[in-house]
């Protein structure tokens, strides 16, 4: 029984590693894009323009208020009707980036708002321009509050990337699904899938926790 299990495991493992690689690629690309977009949106969200800030707020609400699986259906099935035909992989990256950037936007905006107003004033008073104030004085301090939840958002995104299996991206979850149709060992197959996700996500969760502890201790000392 156990030997049979082991041999089956060894047979299917290469497929799973390929799936894992795809999960890492999809998440990695989306991570870079959504971080860049999220920071830009977050900075604009705290900016002086009411209109810009409100529009971004609406975007964030839409992304937060609807399930990711619905979002990915919209990107994959509806955008083509409007003339934007995407393959599964770019569609997955677009959907993941759109959603995660909204969450990161709120994290970044929260971090910026947590910096006392006097810091902006002091920086302005010594003649730094808006961009320098942000880059040299505000963001370095805001990063303290931003970093732990930012890593948390990455974990959420990696987990949400499992949903892109529904439009046919052969990442980890999709591989599990394909396997279970052929080998009816649901428990084993999805335990294995789960373990592979765990291997990526758990260290990141620990990182987020320890960052939070370290940074909050530092701020107590300061």
């Amino acid at each position: 029984m156990i030997a049979e299990y082991a041999s089956r495991l060894i047979q299917i493992i290469p497929f799973f590693l390929k799936g894992l690689l795809m999960t890492v690629v999809v998440s990695g690309i989306s991570l870079v894009l959504s971080t860049a977009l999220g920071f830009i949106l977050g900075i604009l969200r705290t900016g002086r323009s009411r209109l810009v800030s409100r529009s971004i707020g609406l975007y964030v609400d839409v992304m937060r208020g609807t399930p990711f699986v619905v979002q990915i259906f919209i990107v994959f099935f509806i955008l083509p009707e409007w003339g934007l035909q995407l393959d599964a992989l770019p569609a997955a990256i677009l959907a993941l980036t759109a959603m995660t950037s909204a969450f990161i936007c709120e994290v970044v905006a929260g971090g910026i708002r947590a910096v006392p107003k006097g810091q902006w004033e002091a920086a302005a008073a010594s003649g730094l321009n808006k961009f320098q104030q942000l880059k040299l004085v505000i963001l370095p301090q805001a990063m303290r509050t931003i970093l732990p939840p930012l890593v948390g958002q990455y974990v959420l995104m990696i987990k949400d990337s499992s949903v892109v299996s529904v439009i046919g991206v052969t990442e980890l979850t999709r591989v599990g699904w394909q396997t279970v149709v052929r080998i009816p060992e649901g428990l084993m197959v999805f335990t294995l899938v789960g373990v592979l996700y765990f291997v990526i996500c758990y260290p990141l969760i620990r990182l987020s926790n320890s960052l939070e502890q370290r940074l909050s201790q530092e701020s107590v000392r300061l």
Partner: protein, 242 residues
């Protein structure tokens, strides 16, 4: 150097500055006092446009501040500002606090800026604290770093917004000493403060504000000993008994 002409400012409906007319020539040390909420902080915050005003004209070093097209960063670079709550950058050392603007605004190279920074820290008596973070410094030391930060831009004017009122009593002296020394070197200074000793020793002029108006102007000794207006007299008796 600084000239207010009929400056008016409102916060919503609240009229915080009413027809301010005031001229501060180069080299003058001006002390501004008055009860809290009288508009004195708002007044000096207008000088580097941390606050906007709605009506009137304000010239600083020949530049019209009521004109919104002027180069604000350039203007602010030439004015030092010291806050009540210091507002040092907590993520930088004392030296980095002082050199930040010279490097990024004056485009000095790092060595030059650090040399300048150390000189400024020495000037406020903190040569040995260059590598300390704000959290490791006492309130008085932090405020002196903040003064050095302002001086590093070789400003034409230094503005002080209640620089000693957030400090423990035993630390007030060390900050005032630095300010007195600055005044004696001929710096143009506007100081919001209730420190009478400082005013009597170095101020050329004291102005008294109440409810957004400039109520009284005078030489420090005359003002504190024989105020002309009832409101000023009341205020002085309060800070004396205090």
């Amino acid at each position: 150097m600084i000239e207010f002409k009929n400056v008016n400012k409102w916060f919503g409906k609240l009229h915080v500055l009413r027809d301010i007319n005031l001229e501060v020539p180069a080299g003058e040390v001006l002390v501004i006092c008055g009860p809290s909420g009288s508009g004195k902080s708002t007044l000096i915050r207008c000088i580097n446009r941390l606050e906007k005003f709605q009506k009137g004209e304000l010239y600083v070093d020949g530049q019209p501040l009521h004109d919104h097209s002027i180069n604000l960063t350039k203007l602010r670079a030439d004015i030092g500002f010291v806050f009540q709550q210091f507002h040092l950058y907590p993520h930088m050392t004392a030296l980095q606090n002082v050199t930040l603007a010279p490097i990024n605004v004056r485009k000095m190279n790092r060595d030059e800026a650090e040399e300048l920074g150390r000189r400024m820290l020495a000037r406020v008596g903190l040569s040995d604290k260059a590598d300390a973070y704000p959290a490791q410094l006492s309130g008085g030391q932090q405020q002196r770093v903040a003064i050095a930060r302002g001086l590093a831009m070789s400003p034409k004017i230094m503005l002080f917004d209640e620089p000693t009122s957030a400090l423990d009593p035993e630390m007030i002296g060390e900050v005032l000493d630095v300010m007195i020394q600055l005044a004696e070197e001929g710096m143009t200074m506007c100081v919001v403060t209730h420190e009478m000793g400082f005013a009597r020793q170095v101020a050329h002029r004291v102005i008294f504000m109440d409810e957004g108006q400039l109520v009284e102007t005078g030489k420090p000794d005359a003002f504190f000993d024989n105020p002309e207006t009832e409101r000023a007299a009341q205020f002085i008796s309060k800070i004396l008994t205090h």
